[in-house]
Symmetry: C2
Subunit: 199 residues, 2 copies
């Protein structure tokens, strides 16, 4: 099954943009360019909220013009629209991403804000997360992570220090189903092995 990946750049205090959406603090380098080019190769589907979409448009991206790519924009205010390359929808993001995940294709990239990611984390649909942690405390901004109704356990896949002083981290998300299986095994072995302390 194709992976759902949430990633991007963040400050150490976990903002992904200033309050006015500015990302002037991002550190660009050839090294980052290469990593990003490589990163985007694995996707054919982008999922974002209205705000990220508008920022992308303003920056000259996000119009669905990248060959072979499809962009889904989730918004309650934008007019729904469906073309081969761009879908603007007011549907539930977890439902749509759940459906996309079962279809054939490359991986799915969740871009931008934390609110979309929050819904997808809570629905246990995110498989991997990756961040380029920048050496800065912005002090205020748009938060990357919002409060969630449960804890998400992660497994570190990679940690790489860039020349800019950024720290690139990639984690696999431990799904609820795995945890249930692990708990089941533990309970099972407990019964067999008499690991409980005698009273």
């Amino acid at each position: 099954m194709r992976k759902v990946v949430f990633g991007g750049a963040n400050s150490l205090d976990n903002y992904f943009a200033r309050k006015d959406d500015a990302v002037d603090w991002l550190m660009w380098s050839d090294e980052v360019g290469e990593i990003m080019a490589d990163y985007f190769k694995s996707f054919d589907t982008f999922v974002m909220g209205r705000r990220t979409y508008e920022v992308a448009i303003a920056m000259g991206h996000g119009d669905g013009s990248t060959p072979g790519m499809k962009t889904y924009v989730f918004s309650r205010t934008l007019k729904p629209r469906s073309t081969k390359k761009l879908e603007i929808t007011s549907e539930d993001v977890a439902e749509v991403v759940g459906r996309l995940k079962r279809e054939e294709g490359k991986d799915i990239c969740i871009m931008g804000g934390g609110l979309l990611a929050k819904s997808l984390f809570e629905a246990d649909l995110i498989d991997e997360i990756g961040f380029n942690i920048h050496p800065v405390l912005l002090g205020s901004g748009i938060p990357l992570f919002h409060e969630m109704n449960r804890q998400i356990d992660l497994e570190l896949i990679e940690c790489k220090t860039l020349k800019t002083g950024c720290v690139l981290v990639t984690y696999r998300v431990k799904h609820e189903s795995e945890k249930k299986i692990a708990r089941g095994r533990k309970a099972g072995s407990g019964k067999k092995g008499k690991t409980k302390k005698p009273r």
Copy 2:
């Protein structure tokens, strides 16, 4: 001058404890034990807020009994108290830490919560920060960083991956004074070198 260091363990979504102060998600190992023992060697002064102090007391620490150590607790509600090893005060934390920084001694460790650190960051008194980023999104809790009235630029000193999947990062804080000097140099060279574009 002795350094003021703010550090601890955090979740990837930047909480340092659950809402009920629980730190049951912390990953302990011999490796972490060795790192912490080494880390604490450089301090003789601990600075914390009331809440962290109460948690420390409940865990059997924080009573100022560690030999050669002095603990400062900042609180508007606790009764002021001053012994050789423990000082509970309602004074302004930035004033006290600024004064301690000019005294002779080992480094000063800011423990626990983000509110104390916020005041000290804003007063430009913190020299170094270090965190053991845990592979978990707690979803809610007590935040490590609070909103601040300005951006804090950092320089990565070290990044180390632990066997537990934690990522240990240490940063030097770039002080406002350095930035002013850098800006002054830039402006000076601009005048001399005519780097401004002609209109």
